[in-house]
Amino acid sequence: MSEQTPFTIEQFYKHIGQGKLLGAKCRKCGKVHLPPRPLCEGCLSKEFDWTALPAKGKLLTYTIIHIAPTQFQASAPYAVGIVEFEKDLKLPGMIQGVSLEQIRVGMNLTMEFGTAAAIQPWPQWPKYYFKPVTN
């Protein structure tokens, strides 16, 4: 088997830092995991291939956070939601580039890739955000 990058959360975020949304596809049963995990949920296999996912999807649900944890207090109020990219492949994230009143369940959003964030000393993951699709 060829040398592969590990199927870890850290590697997922390294890809985010490179502007890519990648899931881990099981070589045995074909199930795609987003985020990746070391054991396939479908068949407990440990063999995967990275698979590119379209960085756009539909907003399944959202909320506007008014009371924020300590490290996010300066940003409040802010919107967060869960976006579905393909069936059952979802991620939560902040929704930006749209006024809070205009956010709607079902709207199309794309993923924007940020650089390394430094809110906390550990870990240093890059950020991603969701933004409305612009025509």
């Binding site: 959360i9 975020y13 985020p35 399944l60 649900t61 959202y62 909320t63 506007i64 956070i65 008014h66 009371i67 924020a68 944890p69 300590t70 490290q71 996010f72 207090q73 940003s75 109020p77 802010y78 967060v80 939601g81 869960i82 059952d88 979802k90 991620l91 939560p92 994230g93 902040m94 369940v105 870990p123 993951w125």
Partner: protein, 390 residues
């Protein structure tokens, strides 16, 4: 006749819930323990109690870990085998399950099970941060999602799928505050109006202040024994006849459904099956109303109504004292308070009062079978227990 008893509750204790200034969790736990000891004169705690299972969620609140032994020590139980369980807000629901296992296995004849948490000395931002630790870190906490935020995501999804309204959510708060007004140990003992709830400040849209449970100090405990030994300690034991516990993904975003807590459905199915009872047999229930939407999801997940009809059930008044199935007669997490680690056995304490006819003004008439539903985090852990009076 329903299921065989798994274990029997022979006594129970609950501290006052609220802002207990100047008291550490261990000191609050000893208050709950003392009530349980005093109410069971035939029990010799130091001689009879062989193990303690105690739910405690957060080291961060008091900068104190290793809380199993700490609580055992402060309850005066010396060298008892002490185990602390942590499953976020279901910490003591899980402790209860472990205590039942200890008794059922034959390893221990008499055990104490409880929980404690000290929270009110921290700022709201700190409490928000510490509670969020029970959610997924790399994707949820990292994106600034709080606990009210996670339940708000479920509320938005439920409203969108079924037309559930903010007004229906608020009726849950009004009901539970009404019940809390009859509970002298509740943190909030005042009734509120629908308008108060609906006009309260936003926490995580669509959830407002009155959709959220409280930040609370408190402790709770039960004394459990084998069913065949129960009458040695009391004439009025309460039998536990069903126990279910289940897990799910830590991240809400990885679940199949955003409008149901699947772990609660799995746990409920197991508990109902073990107890040989159906949802319509339940006379009283304490459910995990950490947010108003959570009580509505609980109605559906426990089979009190069909999926999507929880909002209407809340509005119907059938879950109010005097209704078809009174839910959260204690005031629930919403009004009684939610000292996270103490909540699971705190719910069992209310059921114990109800099934022994000691619930005072909030007594459910002729209550024979009751249920508790305790959820950890956004639903990665759930426990459901079913009880029958003797």
């Amino acid at each position: 006749m329903n299921g065989k008893p798994l274990a029997s509750i022979v006594s129970a204790g609950l501290s006052k819930f609220g802002k207990l200034e100047g008291l550490y969790a261990r000191e609050i736990f000893s208050e709950a323990a003392k009530e349980a000891f005093d109410n069971c004169p035939k029990l010799d705690p130091r001689k009879d109690i062989e193990a303690l299972f105690v739910g405690h969620m957060g080291e961060s609140f008091e900068h104190q870990g290793h809380t199993g032994a700490t609580m055992a020590d402060w309850a005066g139980l010396g060298h008892v085998a002490a185990t602390r369980t942590e499953a976020a807000c279901a910490s003591s629901g899980v402790a209860l399950r472990a205590a039942i296992c200890a008794v059922r296995s034959g390893l221990s004849d008499v055990v104490m099970v409880g929980g404690a948490e000290k929270m009110t000395h921290r700022t709201t931002a700190e409490v928000t941060e510490y509670l969020a630790m029970a959610s997924d870190y790399p994707f949820e906490q990292w994106n600034g999602i709080t606990f009210p935020g996670l339940y708000a995501l479920m509320a938005t999804a439920h409203m969108n799928a079924y037309g559930t309204t903010e007004r229906q959510l608020a009726t849950v708060a009004v009901k539970n505050h009404y019940h809390g007004s009859m509970n002298p140990k509740a943190q909030m003992q005042k009734e509120i109006t629908l308008e108060t709830a609906l006009s309260s400040r936003m926490v995580a849209w669509p959830l407002k202040l009155y959709d959220c449970s409280l930040i609370t100090d408190g402790a709770s405990c039960l004394i459990l024994t084998k069913p065949e030994l129960a009458h040695r300690f009391t004439d009025t034991p309460v039998h536990i006849i069903g126990s279910g516990q289940a897990s799910d993904t830590i991240g809400l975003y990885e679940r199949k459904s955003l409008t149901s807590i699947e772990a609660a459905r799995v746990a409920a199915k197991k508990a109902y099956g073990m107890a040989h009872v159906k949802p319509e047999d339940i006379d009283a229930a304490e459910v995990h109303d950490c947010f108003t939407i959570a009580e509505i999801l609980a109605y559906e997940d426990l089979g009190f109504c069909k999926a999507g009809e929880g909002g209407k059930l809340a509005e119907s008044g059938e879950t109010k004292l005097g209704g078809r199935i009174p839910v959260n007669t204690s005031g629930g997490l919403k009004a009684k308070g939610h000292p996270v680690g103490a909540t699971g056995t705190g719910q069992a304490y209310e059921v114990y009062l109800q099934l022994t006819g000691r619930a005072g003004k909030r007594q459910v008439r002729d209550a024979e079978i009751a249920l508790t539903h305790n959820v950890g985090g956004s639903g990665a852990t759930a426990t459901v227990h079913i009880y029958r009076r003797s």
